[in-house]
């Protein structure tokens, strides 16, 4: 009985919305919005195609992965260096805050000029936008480490790389993970945008092509595809975060119960 109730809650509203959608499009064919059935078939046609997957989807996702990973590594390493040094923090704060406030897509024209319009540019665009949340969150995470923890490390002679590994990074991990989450959503946006300019393949390019040639159901299938990727990324992140920060969630539960 309970399982039935939970399932109803899970699919109730979506089914309702789907039904409304089907109803709204059931009359004369609408130019802007396809019927659910059409969309489903188009989706299968467009995206379950080997060529499409190999030429557009996988390379795009590959660039996204490369960009995000590079941004995370760069952001964490730099963030550690700056975060642990008060002078460096003060020196870099205004400049970093400026770059954090800069909307990431704005650097696309710049990078197009400096790097060209190849794969490197697309990855550079992703890195240039994604590094900031990770960097700034790492700095903040390191800066706000409990002084008692630092003193404990000092009193037991834990310095340098071991200290970073055993004390600094784990302590800053919750804040860093929040930055990684932002990094992922920015990365997806930039992946798409970088392919809308002077590109000849990729997810973003494909979807724009559909729109330009008024292949409307195909365009919608692209939107759905992007949505699915967004959901998948969010899911992957949440699973990873739950594992890495298991101790943190446990700690918060205990604290909140108190």
């Amino acid at each position: 009985m309970r399982i039935l109730k939970n399932t109803l809650y899970l699919v109730g509203l979506p089914i309702l919305l789907l039904a409304l959608w089907a109803l709204a499009t059931s009359g004369a064919p609408n130019f802007f919005v396809p019927t659910p059935a059409t969309l489903a078939t188009t989706f299968g046609e467009v995206w379950f195609d080997a060529d499409r997957l190999l030429d557009d989807v996988l390379p795009s996702l590959g660039r996204l992965a490369a960009g995000v990973l590079a941004a995370i590594v760069l952001g964490v390493v730099l963030g550690l260096l700056v975060g642990m040094n008060r002078t460096l923090r003060a020196l870099t704060e205004p400049v970093f805050e400026f770059f954090r406030a800069l909307p990431p897509p704005v650097l696309v024209p710049v990078l197009m000029l400096l790097v060209g319009t190849n794969d490197a540019m697309k990855v550079a665009v992703i890195v240039s936008g994604c590094v900031w949340p990770v960097l700034l969150n790492t700095i903040e995470g390191v800066r706000s480490i409990d002084p008692v923890q630092n003193e404990t490390s000092r009193s037991y002679g834990i310095h340098g790389l071991p200290r970073i590994r055993y004390q600094v990074l784990p302590s800053a991990a919750p804040t860093i993970m929040a930055g990684v989450r932002q990094c992922l959503s920015i990365g997806l946006i930039l992946m798409v945008i970088s392919e809308m300019f002077a590109a000849s393949s990729g997810l973003g390019f494909t979807i724009v092509q559909f729109q330009r040639s008024f292949a409307i159901p195909e365009m919608w299938s692209g939107i759905v595809m992007l949505g699915l990727i967004g959901v998948a990324l969010s899911f992957i992140f949440q699973s990873a975060e739950r594992r890495v920060l298991r101790w943190y969630h446990g700690l918060k539960e205990v604290e909140n119960a108190a």
């Binding site: 409990d146 008692v148 923890q149 003193e151 404990t152 000092r154 009193s155 037991y156 002679g157 834990i158 071991p162 055993y166 004390q167 784990p170 302590s171 991990a173 101790w247 943190y248 446990g250 700690l251 205990v254 604290e255």
Partner: protein
Amino acid sequence: MQPETTAGHAGRTLPEGQALLSVRGLKKVYKTDAGDIEAVRNLTFDLGRNELACLVGPSGSGKTTLLKCISGLLASTEGEVRLDGQKVTGPPKKMAVVFQEYGRSLFPWLRVADNVELPLKNAGVPKDERRKLVADALEAVGLAHVPKSYPWQLSGGMQQRVAIARAIAYQPEVLLMDEPFAAVDAQTRADLEDLIRRIHRDLGVTVLFVTHDIDESVYLGERVIILSSSPTVVQEDLVIDLPDVRDQLETRALPRFTELRHHVYEQIQRAKKGHRPEAALQK
């Protein structure tokens, strides 16, 4: 009968070479935008091997500052601290500190056993030896049954035991404790006090125990160093001539206990009122 004390502003010192921990003329001045603040003026005392000494003083008497200077976490303005003849410039290897805030000192991402093991791992102790030291330490504090728990899953008293286990697994010569039981309930505190005495007896480690609890200082210590108010000097260095075997009920009921604690209490009240030992007034 008047307790045995030292006069003047210096604590008891030992002949050359006999002291394990030696504090001479320790002075700490904080420089602030509002001028200099002299927290500690002149502290001099020695701790011998296998001694359990308590440090008491009124609020603001720089107890924490003193402990931080002795442990090498804070640089003193003047004076020096020597451990086994070596000058202390940073946290020395043969010294371990137990902080008051056990919740913030233990690493929440490590399990209990890993927390205890960490300093040893960092010092390069081989795995087998580490395991044994950790097991022994947890056994000594009565936590052999929770190695896989996380600190935040344990009660306050148990967390502090973990911190103590971590300190003794490190095999220090001197154990510094900074008001470790202040944030713990009374019943747990009694158990932990007995634990310290047991560890001191079984492991032979020298303990410098900072507290604001007068009863605790008299119950625990073989010696109580009473601090003056700020700028701090040694108000009095008092020998506790209670029996070696102590019991929460029996010992605290002894008339001698009451005398001693009365004396300490008096001294602290005088310190709070701004009374300072004769010699210090000459400065």
